[in-house]
């Protein structure tokens, strides 16, 4: 498990450094993610320790954003004042996003050479 964590922290650190000095608009962890995917493609497999740590993280991913989201207490008046706009935007957007993605993927796979 420790070796898995070391690998994750290594890629995270490389990502943070690249973000700080070369790609300031990209969050460091996202650069780390992309580099790790490329590394895995090169290696052609995931070592067991890395898989263990990654699966642990993804299983409880939701826990990790609780502390920041609790900050909602600071925004309650603002959220109340804009409640209608927020709920309509979220509802409308989620329906349109799922519908448009679904229609495009179906349309292109009918026309395409596959299937």
């Amino acid at each position: 498990m420790i070796s898995g964590l070391v690998q994750i922290l290594l890629f995270q650190s490389i990502g943070e450094l690249l973000s700080k000095f070369f790609l300031p608009t990209l969050p460091g962890p996202v650069i780390g993610l992309v580099l790790l995917v490329l590394w895995l493609i090169l290696r052609k497999n995931i070592n067991a320790e890395l898989a263990l740590v990654a699966d642990g993280f993804s299983q409880y991913l939701g826990l990790l954003f609780v502390p920041a989201a609790v900050g909602v207490v600071l925004f309650l008046p603002q959220l109340k004042a804009n409640a209608l706009a927020i709920i309509s935007a979220l509802l409308g957007s989620v329906i349109l996003t799922i519908a448009s993605s679904a229609l495009v993927v179906r349309f292109l796979s009918q026309k395409g050479p596959h299937e």
């Binding site: 895995l40 409880y60 990790l64 179906r106």
Partner: protein
Amino acid sequence: MSEQHSIAEIWVYLSGSPLFALFLTLAAYQLGLIVYKASKQNPLANPVAIAIILVAVIIQFIEMPYATYFEGAQFIHFLLGSATVSLAIPIYRGLESLRGRSIPLIFSLITGSLVSIVSAVGIATLLGANSSITGAMYPKSVTAPIAMGIAERIGVSPTLTAIFAVSTGIMGAILAPFVLNALGMKAWWQRGFAIGIGAHGIGTSRAFSIHPEAGTYASLAMGMNGVISAVAIPVIYHLFNR
């Protein structure tokens, strides 16, 4: 020393250390997981939403300032970056599923993420939301750890973004089956991919509980959407907010 005095002393001691915030956060999440399992994984009983509401209500009730809570809970928050990096593993596992279907999937991804941004920001703006709200709408279809990273880079509130992202995930997980049935979508991989774009992690776990192929494609869509959004959203945001 009176009894009340000593309880107050213990209280002051505990709330000054990170222990209380850590315990509160983990216990609330644990309770959320129990409720979620008891409800047979109903998306309305989302464990993250339950934990957020519980912790928010409790710290309001005991009048603990948010800054004090966060000082303790930051140890959990810190792991977000590492969790983001470890999303590489599900993406790598999903890459196999791209084979032969990459063109429809990539165009679907681009369409979905653009529609998500334009519709959310557009509707919020039309209905008169202020710029801190509309700004936080940009990354709301992205999985929360990446969405919050994007929010920091474009200078909008990561908290609002996290709240919008979690709400989007819950709404998407509930509504997706209706939307997809109404459109007559039949292939599991197409249904899953659309859910992953629109409703990230919460939608993905719903997709896995319905059909494994839908889950694999949802997870791939969520990861790819996270990466391209991290690249594209800062550009789009600065285009419209000068």
